[in-house]
């Protein structure tokens, strides 16, 4: 091997098509990858501190602002954790309406990632605008899907970014039957588009890569877990959400404003691959059939193939949304009265990017004493680093620019939301002094 390929430094600035600011640093010594660090330098926003002293009704509006892409995940996780602290379980038609809203968020977020952020990587383009030049039909389909998700969020939530309608206990106002009935046609079209998306995504080229981290997701009886479930893992873990904190620990690393999360000291992965691998048997029959047709087995550990899994989840979310829309009767009243009491409550839901955990401790007047929020991306930080390590090890003979591009793809596979985790990925590969 030539000197200089054994030790080298690559820098990639500003990883694009991710939500947030971060950087990547890779150090190669003697032809071996010594260190891979995913830096998150999105300025910290200190949400958990800012929530202290607020009333139990406020986190739904405040935590939405953690992420403009998945505000509903934050709103519904916060609401359910606070309901748990107050001894209330919201079920029935209000819960269906929550799940409908959450389906809308999955549809818009997954359509955004599949078509606008991830697809350009497979088609050799810089952006969706470039994709649109060569494949206008593909992009139009993606935008139709995204719009269907957004419309769902607008009708149920009031608006797509930072919905105003969700509250502790349910909704400020239940939408009338007519306005939801108007969504059936667009959602039918979206379901067709989602199926076409699965078929299109299945035909892309996928580099080989296997995640070996433990997979963690929610699992619920009789349904593909979205808004609730038990925390399960490929390693046999099976817990209610209120025991999450006993097994998962957050720690701080010098290079990141995101806290890094581990499971009993081990690296783990949340998100579409984990959800699919731990719950493919819970998909609706049409999504299972589409998965088989797309060549997926009961599990999928190739992060490049996450685009196929997200497409399947688009199909799942469209079908579920249609079922809820067809059976909809406005819940009366639109929310359950939740009386504050001193106590602690936790909840987990499946944000589009993976498991999201909230815990709140309230005083007797319902003021927040402490808040803990563990977003998907900080849980995935170590697993993303592990993927990148393998990509770099295999790609050491690639020119710097190509290796950097491969690493960026490795990051985008996981649709990291660095705004959540704390934004802006830069790659800096240190291959040692060139000689």
């Amino acid at each position: 091997m030539r000197m200089g390929t054994e030790n080298r430094t690559i820098r990639v600035g500003d990883i694009a098509r991710v939500e947030g600011e971060g950087a990547l640093r890779v150090r190669v010594r003697g032809g071996r990858v010594e260190r891979v660090e995913l830096d998150v330098f999105e300025p910290p926003r200190y949400f958990e501190a800012l929530l202290r002293g607020r009333t139990y009704l406020e986190p739904v509006d405040i935590t939405a602002r953690i992420c403009g892409i998945c505000p509903v995940a934050y709103q519904l996780t916060a609401a359910q954790a606070i309901e748990a602290a107050c001894g209330v379980v919201v079920d029935g038609p209000i819960r269906d309406l929550r799940r409908l809203l959450y389906c809308g968020e999955w549809i818009q977020s997954h359509a955004l990632h599949v078509y606008l952020l991830h697809a350009p990587d497979f088609l050799g383009c810089d952006s969706v605008v470039e994709v649109a030049r060569d494949h206008p039909e593909v992009v139009r389909r993606g935008l139709r899907l995204k719009k269907a998700g957004n419309r769902l969020m607008e009708v149920v939530g009031g608006r797509a970014v930072h919905p105003v309608n969700p509250r502790v206990g349910g909704f400020h106002r239940a939408p009338d039957r007519r306005s939801l009935a108007d969504l059936i046609d667009p959602l039918e079209e979206a379901r067709e588009d989602a199926l076409a998306t699965v078929r299109w995504a299945a035909g892309l080229d996928f580099p080989d890569l296997e995640v070996d981290a433990e997979l963690v997701a929610l699992r619920a009886p009789g349904e593909y877990a979205i808004d609730r479930g038990r925390v399960v893992s490929s390693g046999g873990l099976d817990l209610p959400p209120d025991r999450f904190g006993e097994h998962f620990t957050e720690s701080q690393v010098p290079h990141s404003t995101a806290l890094v999360s581990t499971l009993g000291g081990r690296t783990y992965l949340v998100g579409p691959l984990a959800r699919y691998s731990l719950g493919s048997d819970r998909l609706l029959p049409e999504a299972r059939a589409a998965a088989r047709e797309a060549g997926l087995g009961p599990t999928c550990r190739n992060p490049f193939r996450s685009i196929v899994v997200r497409s399947l989840e688009l199909l799942q979310a469209c079908s579920e949304a249609l079922t809820i829309l067809r059976g909809y009767r406005p819940p009366e009243p639109s929310f359950v009265e939740v009386r504050p009491r001193a106590g602690e409550g936790s909840a987990c839901t499946e944000a589009p990017r993976g498991l999201l955990y909230h815990r709140y401790r309230l005083d007797e007047e319902g003021r927040i004493v402490t808040a803990t929020i563990v977003p998907p991306t900080s849980q995935n930080q170590l697993a993303i680093e592990a993927d990148l390590r393998r990509l770099v090890e295999r790609g050491l003979d690639l020119p710097d620019a190509d290796l950097a591009h491969l690493c960026e793809r490795g990051v985008r596979n996981h649709d990291p939301c660095i705004s959540c985790a704390a934004h802006f990925l830069r790659l800096d590969v240190d291959r040692g002094p060139a000689s």
Binding site: P44, R65, L112, V128, L143, K146, Q252, P254
Partner: protein, 257 residues
């Protein structure tokens, strides 16, 4: 490369929601991309043009020392600079820390706060560089955002009203929550733009678009008391996404007790 105006979209401390509003213009996105050269938009494209830019849209607040340097560079590279959203125009929800100390908030979240590089306060872009136009909202409204870009392209002033949400409720035919249903509402002091969504969903406005022009927040105190709001309620309501906007941060003293 092209004669089209060069557009850049920048992110500082924020949630990405305002720039997402641009990508959420599903029907207009491709047409827009034909009219402007999207030269820098990291969330959407890995192609990075080095500037200068004809129009920069800036999302996010200034919250770290690196932000201060970066916004100065963005300003130098931009012919027109428009700030979008509550973070960029008022400091955002993260400006709640301005009412306490950074040490206190950092220690509550991070075991080793000394590893972080954060400014004591989160502040709007206009506190650091001259801004040509501020577009308010958490998030900004899609139609208003398109109006700003369209106006820029045709060289006219954008039509962005500065009146209160009340005007939008009247236009929409929503019965006044504050008067008719005794629901505390920030609508009378909040800038229009969202379309008065909250009152239409039966809840009081919570101030996402910041203070309306000439809003007198103090005058709202008695109206809130009449509908049974308790001491401190108005102040708490104003301590939201636009808490650091001058009219909201000063107005709350009347009710603070």
């Amino acid at each position: 490369m092209t004669g089209r105006p060069r557009l850049a979209v920048w992110k500082f401390s924020s949630c990405d929601g305002c720039q997402l509003q641009l990508l959420d213009c599903e029907d207009e996105l491709l047409a827009l991309a034909g009219r402007v050269d999207i030269s820098y938009f990291l969330e959407a494209s890995s192609a990075v043009g080095c500037g200068p830019y004809d129009l920069s849209l800036v999302e996010g607040s200034i919250a770290s020392p690196a932000d201060v340097e970066r916004i100065r560079r963005v300003r130098r590279l931009s012919r027109r600079l428009v700030t979008i959203g509550a973070c960029a125009t008022a400091g955002g929800i993260q400006a709640l820390r301005n009412f306490t100390t950074l040490r206190e908030v950092a220690a509550a979240v991070y075991p080793r706060p000394e590893l972080l590089s954060s400014l004591e306060t989160s502040t709007p872009i206009s506190a650091h560089v001259p801004v040509d136009l501020e577009l308010h909202g958490c998030p900004v409204d899609r139609r208003q955002l398109l109006e700003v870009v369209a106006a820029f392209l045709s060289g006219r002033r954008p039509v962005v009203p500065g009146h209160s949400v009340c005007v939008e409720c009247k236009a929409r035919g929503t019965t006044c929550l504050l008067v008719a249903r005794s629901v505390p509402c920030l609508g009378p002091v909040t800038r229009a733009g969202c379309g008065a969504i909250c009152p239409a969903y039966g809840r009081g406005c919570y101030g996402c678009f910041g203070p309306a022009e000439s809003a007198t927040t103090a005058a709202l105190g008695p109206a809130w008391e009449r509908v049974g709001a308790r001491a401190g309620d108005l102040k708490r309501a104003l301590r939201g996404v636009n808490a650091w906007a001058p009219a909201f941060r000063e107005g709350d003293d009347e009710d603070g007790h």
